[in-house]
Subunit: 412 residues, 2 copies
Amino acid sequence: MTMLKGNAVVGQSGGPTAAINATLAGVIKGALAAKGEGIIDTLFGMRNGIEGFLQENLINLTDIFSDERKLEILKQTPSAALGSCRKKMKSPEADPETYEKLIEIFKKYNIRYFFYIGGNDSMDTVSKLSQFASEHDYEMRVVGVPKTIDNDLAATDHTPGFGSAAKFVATTMKELIRDISVYSMKAVTIVEVMGRDAGWLTASAALPVISGGKAPDLIYLPERSFDPEKFIESINELQKDHPALLVAVSEGIRFADGRYVGEGLGGRKVDAFGHVALSGAGKVLEDLVKERVGCKVRSIELNLPQRCAAHIASLTDITESVGVGFAAVKYATEGKTGVMATIDRADGEEYSVSYGAYNIAEIANAVKTVPDEYINETSDGITEAGINYLKPLIMGECPVVYENGMPEHIVL
Amino acid sequence: MTMLKGNAVVGQSGGPTAAINATLAGVIKGALAAKGEGIIDTLFGMRNGIEGFLQENLINLTDIFSDERKLEILKQTPSAALGSCRKKMKSPEADPETYEKLIEIFKKYNIRYFFYIGGNDSMDTVSKLSQFASEHDYEMRVVGVPKTIDNDLAATDHTPGFGSAAKFVATTMKELIRDISVYSMKAVTIVEVMGRDAGWLTASAALPVISGGKAPDLIYLPERSFDPEKFIESINELQKDHPALLVAVSEGIRFADGRYVGEGLGGRKVDAFGHVALSGAGKVLEDLVKERVGCKVRSIELNLPQRCAAHIASLTDITESVGVGFAAVKYATEGKTGVMATIDRADGEEYSVSYGAYNIAEIANAVKTVPDEYINETSDGITEAGINYLKPLIMGECPVVYENGMPEHIVL
């Protein structure tokens, strides 16, 4: 393999996470190391992903991050510092102009390395670009780095960003259990967690069991259909033992007939202007408890803080997110293209990981859901095997730098 | 003043905060110090406030917290470790049995010191008990310690628990600003903050300005009536400058006619069973933007984590919450009764506080709202004077002890 010299570009795409900038920091570290070896000269950052790249909206990251301290602040800054986009690339046959434009910009800036941090759509972009470049005799290495709080990507043991979101969910559940336990009257608190098709993040609600606490009384994942009658039975049964219950529910749970629970129970909600509104699974369960149990009930939607609460990020997640970004650069300079960098968990009792490179063309667009052995028999809780999988991913706290009472962030 | 020897009891009442256990830790420290001086022998804790006390549901805190490390964990445990209640005491004339029962239990356990941590209702209990005991020749010192995330109590510069809630709100706003800024399309994100009658907590949403960030674009407090037309005008005007807006809104904002915004705009919401439902101010503003502006819009209710996110507690708040609890014991052993311990801010540039004791009978039940000079002229933002008041209260981070990835809590 000949050494490919030139410039590099990195972009971020899809929904933000608390760790996507840590991966960017890893790519920057990798590019700075490759600069030392005379391989990569300048690392550019594209603003708003491939959309910004097509407008040559680039910044010089090699210059900006010659200051080591800035890299540390980047690691603790949530969301995508370069901005994001949701563009899904068409095939070269369907949209030849875009690809010609891309090659033109690659040549103009002598870009030989292309790194893209994102989810399934981003990996698809990596695959198409890699193939197009090789078919058009433009030597370029294209490597993807995964990120999603949903943890639903194939080929990697877990995704960068998931561990931090899981740590936020677990910590919030542990705190909520303390909060709801102060009164001696019957009450149900329902917490809706992100995850449309995969229940990984909702499953992490069970983690207080490893920290001297208890899991929510009921945990419902989208991997199982939701039975409202069984839910009410469980509430009544559990309240015989203790009055204040906590329920964790994925936004994506569905009834047996396939309809999302968030669509409601037949009655239709209308908003202040009379439009039909979807209310969310938590709200529907709240209405159900109000009607059928009659006790005090509240629903809480954890919402965006799940993906941007960098102040409580997992040190394991942030460390690995940097590591997988760094590894991506190494794979590219070693000659790999059309691959996604992965996190591979070693077998054995003690948790340890290594990084790998997986041929994206071989990754089906399949969603990796929570396996049966992680869900209990009554489909309302997480097994020990599930806890054992999740536990290492939330370990460790980052040494967050504060500025006047709030974590310091970098804005590019 | 003769030295009054005997036992003591402490209770917690009202809604939880992240600092109410820090105040409990302060009372315990004070009682342990008074034990060293031969004044207080045993400090009992009453479960579920005065309700539990009437059932003699007591635990021996002097024994439990002879272990110093447990006090540190108590300080970082959110919510009320002793449990809470919402009982409002009637007057001795209206309910003589309860007061006789209380005196009976005081005598049985030789209780000479009564500490009650809570809000307005709790201070009312302190006042009534203190008066009743003195009129019935039972020598006892009754001292209240304030707590509320709402910061709306008179006589004290600020309330224990507020600083930690404000730090959570400020940090979450700073993180959300990063999150919503990644896309280049028009969007409005509305965050609903607790505070029915006073806008202190919503005002703290402005604090990212002191930390290299910016305030939400619009901040609406219950101290000003809400004008939907002006709101829409502001959104349209601001989006000419930048596409993604953040709006902080208090749950308690009202229209000019006095109706809560959370009651809706005339159209009535019905829940899944056809019942009329209140949707919350944030949701109503979301519907309004959807209808009148038409851009992407999302509302987020910060909900219970505002009052229990102890993992991001303010060191200033926790330190003062311990201090005011300790001071309460000192005032009692010095002979004060029927008082509330307060936090007094010193004049001058540098922030410093001392503790005081305020005669509860002189505190009107008035709500302390955000003063005019802290709200900007257009009634949609916070002035520099307001920022200067709020800033010191969120300073410093607590050295949180973690256990398997989540903060360690104590359960009594």
